[in-house]
Structure formats: structure tokens, C-alpha cells
């Protein structure tokens, strides 16, 4: 082994020979002995040391062999022979012309060197142990700066991400001294952002919505594409027949799930599934599984009047037509002209005859089609697309808070327009289904809550029982409790694109949300806050209620602006009271009594002061 090393080293260091030859001549004699000593010792030696020694030794040997210097030759021969055999080495050493004192010092030097090595090895071991996962430290500012200067170390980032998630999942026991949860989360956000390519806003939003372990699952799910799904066009064929034909063509597929009677999922395909003769004859449509959901929630009946406010490219519109069996009438609206051709093309291809296609801004549609004229409306609103990152990676970096706010505003206007168009008194309908392919609460629950406040509608179950209920409260917002009837779908849970579906029923055709319903809701929890306020602002509160601005969020604001110190502790407990709407008369009576009580309390307070 040692010989091989020597020879290898020899080969490596052939270039060094020329420079070191002169030096090595002098060292030859000394180093040969050293080399022998080294070789005769155990295998625990540090390779570097060995190499160093062997370099010199080799060069001694090499120079001996290459250059013809008499003294060296003799030694070289002995040396080389000596290296084969430990005993020989020591033997040759004793043959050498050297002082005993020299030997002693040499051996001491070697012992020292060995000790040094062992100490270094031990230190390294300790160092390695220190950096083991059990004691994960957050990187300090300097370390981060150093990192930022160089190219991103992907494996290191991934390691750190895993560590932070691990620590966060068991925070009390695994945390570092003095590090707050917030610091860990900040570091996690930065790491996730640079490893997966998200911008700060988006990763912060996800961190707010999911616990760390689920967040990792979600982000991993976004990196992979969702399975390809097809929808059978029941106007022209049946799923069974279509599946048979496509299998013959070489497309491997299966029925989608038990919740869909028309869906097929494609596993692999030898021919392009978007170019088969059956596709061109309109027997099926390539559509993502999540797009089936809003139409299933809408459940259009035959001979109804339906509006699809953002229809392109037409997957949902054609599904609606198929469910209605080409009866009734569908108004398919699409604002962007560039997308219209796809919409009409798909409608014609799939053999839909009951549709009128128009191109308006959705907010203008009530003026065109009239108020209270339509049975059902599907609003698949334009959104920021944060649920379909697996399809479109640019969303990771391009969406900012401003974008999402703009989307949210547009969606609120659209949903009001949709509600205005629906006829509450229709025999079979009166429903609006709102859906987005986004996961942001501002675009989903917030919009629905807004609609509930502004119009006389209420949420009904979607009929999709396999989704997750929407948020009823999220960070500082508190939504109407019926929002748990909305449904959220996630890529890492349901294996489809991120989606949100809500189904609203219009209760009456009046444009104001009914005072009765609002008062009943707000009365229970607003009684206490209203007594807090002074009589003057109290009228504000009442008028505000009539304008139906009394959301829980606003109440919190009112509280913070106008609360009396002594009643402060009551307010939070009031919010947490269980929601039970008492009858109207009782509420107004109770309110009157409390106003009286407040006035008296004020008088007493004034007298005290």
C-alpha cells in the first residue's frame, strides 16, 4: 500500500522534481531515514505528512536514480529496497552513517508530528460533531453576507430549509437559544425564495396560510405538473365508448375519480391526445380536473338561462351545455378579443348550439342583459393565478401585492354584477357560482364576504364534499361564519390545481343587503361595543349599521378608535361569543336598556371625576 502511494506520489510530483532537486540533494540522507521511520510506522498517519515526507524521500530516491551522483546511488538502492520491508528499512537505517543523537531528535520530531496530527484529527472530529443536525444554528449576519456574495449553494440551502422545518415543527425543544420563531421563519422565507424561485410576497403569503410541513408539501407539489385530464363530451359520445376508442389509439387512461362521471385521466400516450380524430370531432375536451368543479357546483338544469361571465377558452361553457343537453340558453361572455376565437372554435367543435357569444366587460353585462333575468351564473373570475404555479412558473416572480389587490377589486365588482343579473325568483335557479384558480384569501374569502355584505345573498353548500372548507377567519380578518361552506382545493392534497369554489343563492331581488338579517347578526356581538361608544358617535354606529357596513372588521376598528378604557376587556370576549341571532325586537329593547345604562354610568363617572 505504502509503495503504491509512494509510486503514485512519485508520478504526481514529477513536475516538482526539477525545482526541488537542488534542495532535496541535501535532505536526501536525512529524509531517507525519516522516510524509513515513517514507512515502518502504523497506518494511522496523515496522508499529507506521508506525502510530504515521501515527496522528499522520493525525490531523494528519484534524484538518486535519475542523476548520477555516486553517494546517492548507493543510498537510493538501499532506500528502495528498504521501503519494501520494514525490517530492512530499519536495517538500512542502522547501516546509514548517522549519529545517535540525530536519531533521537529525529524520532522526537516524528513523535511531535504524530501528536500534532492526532490533535488536529480530534479537533476536526469535534468540529464535525458540533455541526451535526441536533444543534442547528441560524446563520449569522456575516455568514449570510458571505453567502450572498457567492453563487447560491443549492444543497446547503435545501439542507437549511429542512432543518428549519424540523425545528419549527418541534419548536420548544429544538430551538436555538435566543432565536425567536420569527427569525426562523424569516430565514425560511429567504431560503425558499432563493431555492425555488419565489418572490418575497408570494412566499410570505404561503407561509401565512400553511404550517411549515404542509408548506413544504405544497411547494414541492407546485414543482411538478398535475396529471392530464380529459372531459367526455356527453353531447356526442359516452365515457365508456370514448375510453375504449382512445385505448385503442394508444392512450393509457382511467376514469378520473368517483366524483366525476365524465372525467378521464391520461397516464401516458403514444399519440398526441390533443390531435386524435375523436378530439377533432369534438368527442372530448382537454381540461384540468379543477375546472370540472365549478360547473358541478353550478348544476345547471335543462331549459335554464345561464351566463358564463369569463368563458374562454370554453371548457366550462361546453360542460354546462353538455349538462343542459343543448337546451336553454347560455350567454358566453369573454372580454379579451384575442381569446374569443378559441372560445368559438371549441363551442363549434363540441357541437354546442344553445350558446350566444358576446364580448363585453363583465361589469357591463347587467346593462346589456338586464337585471334579474338569468337563472344561474358562473363567474370563473380572472385572478392572480397563484394556484396554477405548476402550469405557469412565471407567477412565482411576477405577482405582487398590488396585482392581487387589483384582481380583488375587479372580482368584487364582477361578483356584484353577477348577483344583480340573477333572478332571485327564478323557479329553478337563483345561484351564482364564484370560482378562482388562486389561493389568496384576498381574492377568495374576502370577495365572498364582500358580496354577503353588499347584497341579499347567502352561501349554500357547493355539493363538493371532498374539498377543504374555506377560511372563516384569517390573520386579522373575520369572515361570515357561513364561509365554511366554500371549498378550497390544493395540489398537495387533492392532486389538482389550487382552486376555490363558492356557491351563493340570491334571496331577494333588492339591491341592499336586508337590514333584518344584518341587524340580527350584528346585534348579538355589537350590543356591547355600541354601549362603549358615547351617544354622539352612537348615531354614527346606528346609521352605519343601516348601511350594512357593520362587518366584524369594522367593529374592531370602531372599538380601537372609540372604546372606553373600562370596557376594553369586555370587547374581545364579546367577539368570541357563540353566534346566535336573537329576534329583532329583543335586540332593540336590549340596546335601549344598555344605552340607558351607559348614560347613567357616564353621569356617575362624571360626578366621580
Amino acid at each position: 500500500m505504502e509503495d503504491e502511494e509512494v509510486e503514485v506520489v512519485k508520478g504526481k510530483n514529477s513536475q516538482k522534481k526539477a525545482s526541488k532537486k537542488e534542495k532535496s540533494k541535501e535532505f536526501v540522507a536525512v529524509n531517507k531515514k525519516k522516510k524509513n521511520e515513517v514507512l515502518s510506522e502504523s497506518d494511522m498517519e496523515d496522508e499529507e505528512d506521508e506525502e510530504m515526507q515521501s515527496v522528499d524521500g522520493d525525490e531523494g530516491g528519484d534524484s538518486g536514480s535519475d542523476m548520477s551522483s555516486d553517494g546517492d546511488d548507493a543510498f537510493a538502492g538501499d532506500f528502495l529496497q528498504g521501503s519494501d520491508d520494514e525490517e530492512m528499512g530499519s536495517g538500512s537505517q542502522s547501516d546509514l552513517d548517522s549519529d545517535d543523537s540525530d536519531i533521537e531528535t529525529k524520532s522526537k520530531a516524528i513523535d511531535d508530528a504524530k501528536e500534532r496530527e492526532e490533535k488536529e484529527a480530534l479537533d476536526e472530529l469535534r468540529l464535525n460533531i458540533k455541526e451535526a443536525p441536533d444543534e442547528f444554528r441560524l446563520p449569522t449576519q456575516e455568514e449570510l453576507e458571505v453567502e450572498a456574495r457567492g453563487p447560491p449553494d443549492l444543497t446547503g440551502l435545501q439542507q437549511r430549509i429542512k432543518e428549519i422545518v424540523r425545528v419549527l415543527s418541534n419548536f420548544t425543544s429544538l430551538r436555538q437559544e435566543g432565536a425567536t420563531r420569527k427569525q426562523y421563519i424569516e430565514q425560511l422565507k429567504l431560503d425558499l425564495g432563493s431555492y425555488y424561485g419565489y418572490n418575497e410576497f408570494l412566499i410570505s403569503s404561503f407561509v401565512e396560510m400553511f404550517p411549515p410541513v404542509e408548506l413544504m408539501e405544497l411547494i414541492e407539489a407546485f414543482e411538478k405538473p398535475r396529471p392530464i385530464t380529459l372531459r367526455t363530451n356527453t353531447l356526442k359520445t359516452r365515457r365508456r365508448d370514448l375510453a375504449g376508442v382512445l385505448l385503442n389509439r394508444g392512450i393509457n387512461l382511467d376514469p378520473l375519480s368517483k366524483w366525476s362521471k365524465v372525467g378521464l385521466v391520461v397516464y401516458d400516450h403514444q399519440v398526441p391526445y390533443g390531435a386524435t380524430p375523436e378530439y377533432m370531432a369534438g368527442h372530448y375536451m382537454v381540461q384540468s380536473a379543477s375546472s370540472f368543479l365549478p360547473v358541478m357546483a353550478l348544476a345547471p338544469q335543462e331549459k335554464e338561462r345561464i351566463v358564463d361571465m369569463a368563458a374562454s377558452p370554453g371548457g366550462k361553457t361546453t360542460y354546462i351545455a353538455a349538462l343542459m343537453k343543448n337546451t336553454g340558453i347560455i350567454y358566453a361572455n369573454e372580454m379579451k378579443e384575442a381569446r374569443l376565437s378559441k372560445l368559438t372554435s371549441n363551442l363549434q367543435r363540441l357541437g354546442v348550439t344553445n350558446t350566444v357569444v358576446c364580448s363585453y366587460d363583465g361589469r357591463e353585462l347587467p346593462k346589456v342583459l338586464g337585471n334579474n333575468t338569468v337563472d344561474r351564473i358562473l363567474l370563473d373570475a380572472p385572478c392572480s393565478g397563484t394556484g396554477v404555479i405548476s402550469k405557469d412558473e412565471s407567477v412565482k416572480t411576477s405577482k405582487t401585492a398590488v396585482d392581487v389587490q387589483n384582481c380583488s377589486r375587479l372580482q368584487k365588482e364582477l361578483i356584484l354584477a353577477a348577483i344583480d343579473m340573477v333572478d332571485a325568483n327564478s323557479k329553478s335557479g337563483g345561484y351564482v357560482v364564484y370560482s378562482t384558480c388562486s389561493m389568496m384569501v384576498i381574492e377568495n374569502e374576502d370577495v365572498i364576504d364582500y358580496a354577503l355584505k353588499k347584497r341579499d345573498v347567502k352561501l349554500v353548500p357547493c355539493g363538493l364534499d371532498f374539498g377543504r372548507p374555506g377560511f372563516v377567519r384569517f390573520r386579522e380578518s373575520r369572515f361570515h361564519p357561513s364561509l365554511e361552506k366554500t371549498r378550497r382545493f390544493y395540489p398537495h392534497v387533492h392532486n389538482m390545481d389550487g382552486f376555490f369554489v363558492a356557491k351563493l343563492k340570491k334571496m331577494s331581488n333588492s339591491k341592499a343587503a336586508p337590514a333584518a338579517a344584518q341587524v340580527a347578526e350584528d346585534g348579538g356581538s355589537e350590543i356591547e361595543p355600541s354601549t362603549i361608544e358615547t351617544p354622539a358617535p352612537q348615531s354614527n354606529v346606528i346609521s352605519k349599521k343601516e348601511q350594512n357596513k357593520g362587518s366584524r372588521k369594522d367593529k374592531v376598528d370602531n372599538l380601537s378608535l372609540k372604546r372606553k378604557k373600562e370596557e376594553k376587556p369586555n370587547a374581545p370576549t364579546e367577539k368570541r361569543k357563540k353566534y346566535k341571532p336573537p329576534p329583532r325586537e329583543e335586540i332593540s329593547k336590549a340596546r335601549e336598556e344598555k344605552r340607558q345604562a351607559l348614560r347613567e354610568a357616564k353621569k356617575k363617572g362624571k360626578s366621580k371625576v
Binding site: P277, K303, R305, S345, G351, T353
Partner: protein
């Protein structure tokens, strides 16, 4: 959107007659179940931006409040008028024609794709053919599983087809469903 005038109507019906023959009656008079009314209505033709649409009357009534600029399509588009005033049937009419076609041609599976790429039908690709086709009649092309693929003009009568050599042209293609993928300006 407006109803067709005399000359336009004759042109459209002529073209349709080539394909459907006496079944043209069916096209005009079939009851339509579209529209939210309980009783089925009738179909009619409407012209909008040089495109002819075959729509149910109830749809037409309800589409009148959409402005001309914003209306895009109604019911089924069956063809369009060119700038010089001639009428051409487009692929979207296939469903209508296939249901009422008088002359049909079935293609062998091997030559389906060739037709869908836009090539004409040659004798070698012919599976079945209805009798009594005269030259220059309208013909609807099907696959062997009765899936409509397109339509065209018969180049020869059925008798001549039998006598032809295998590379001879049987149907001159006018429209095929592959156009949905090939030409995006399809509407």
C-alpha cells in the same frame, strides 16, 4: 345581425342542397330545443359580419339586445360570404351536414389521418361509398366508426370510382376537422 336576403338565401340553400338533397327540409323545419321556452321553436338563418349562423329562433330573440360590435357568435356557424359575395360552407357546418347527408363516403383507418391533414381522398383509402353519387355532388366523409371527418366534392360518380385506378382522386376535400387545429382563424 340580420336575416338573409333573397340572393343570399338562395346561395346558402343551393350549397346545402348539394350535400343534403331533399333532406334540406329537415334542416329548415326541425324543432329546436334550445332556449328556455317550454315549446320547441324553429331554426333560422342569420347573417352577422359576413358569417351565416344557423340558430334557434328563441336564441335570436334573446341575442337582439347585444350590440353588433360585441356579438361574436350564435348557435352554429355554417359558412361565410367571401368579399366577392360567394358563399362557402365551413367546417363548423359538419354536424348539420352529417346528420342530413345524402351522399357519404367512409374512409379506411389508414387514410383517416391523411384526410385530416388536408389531403384529398384517393381510391385506395376508400372503405365504403354510397351509390348514386354523381360527379360534383357534395359528399360527407366519415371514418369507419361513423365519426364525421369532413366534407368535399365527389370527383367522379360511383360507377367511375369502381373503375378507377387506386391512386385516382375520389373526393376533393373542402373542409375537414383537422382545421380546428391547423387554422386558428377558424371562426
Amino acid at each position: 345581425m340580420r336575416p338573409l336576403d333573397e340572393s343570399e338565401t338562395t346561395q346558402v340553400f343551393e350549397k346545402l342542397f348539394k350535400f343534403t338533397g331533399n333532406n334540406l327540409k329537415n334542416i329548415v323545419e326541425s324543432p329546436s330545443h334550445e332556449g328556455p321556452d317550454q315549446t320547441p321553436g324553429r331554426y333560422c338563418f342569420r347573417l352577422h359580419k359576413n358569417r351565416v349562423y344557423y340558430v334557434s329562433e328563441s336564441l335570436v330573440k334573446r341575442a337582439t339586445n347585444i350590440k353588433r360590435d360585441n356579438l361574436v357568435a350564435l348557435g352554429t356557424n355554417i359558412g361565410k360570404f367571401t368579399k366577392s359575395g360567394k358563399f362557402h360552407l365551413t367546417i363548423q357546418a359538419l354536424n348539420l351536414l352529417a346528420a342530413n347527408a345524402k351522399h357519404k363516403v367512409w374512409l379506411k383507418p389508414t387514410s383517416e389521418m391523411s384526410f385530416l391533414y388536408g389531403n384529398d381522398v384517393i381510391k385506395g383509402g376508400l372503405g365504403r361509398i354510397t351509390d348514386n353519387i354523381n360527379a360534383y355532388d357534395g359528399v360527407v366523409v366519415f371514418s369507419m366508426s361513423d365519426v364525421p371527418l369532413g366534407f368535399g366534392i365527389a370527383a367522379k360518380s360511383t360507377q367511375d370510382c369502381r373503375k378507377m385506378d387506386p391512386n385516382g382522386l375520389v373526393v376533393i376535400r373542402q373542409a375537414d376537422t383537422g382545421e380546428y387545429l391547423r387554422s386558428q382563424e377558424d371562426i
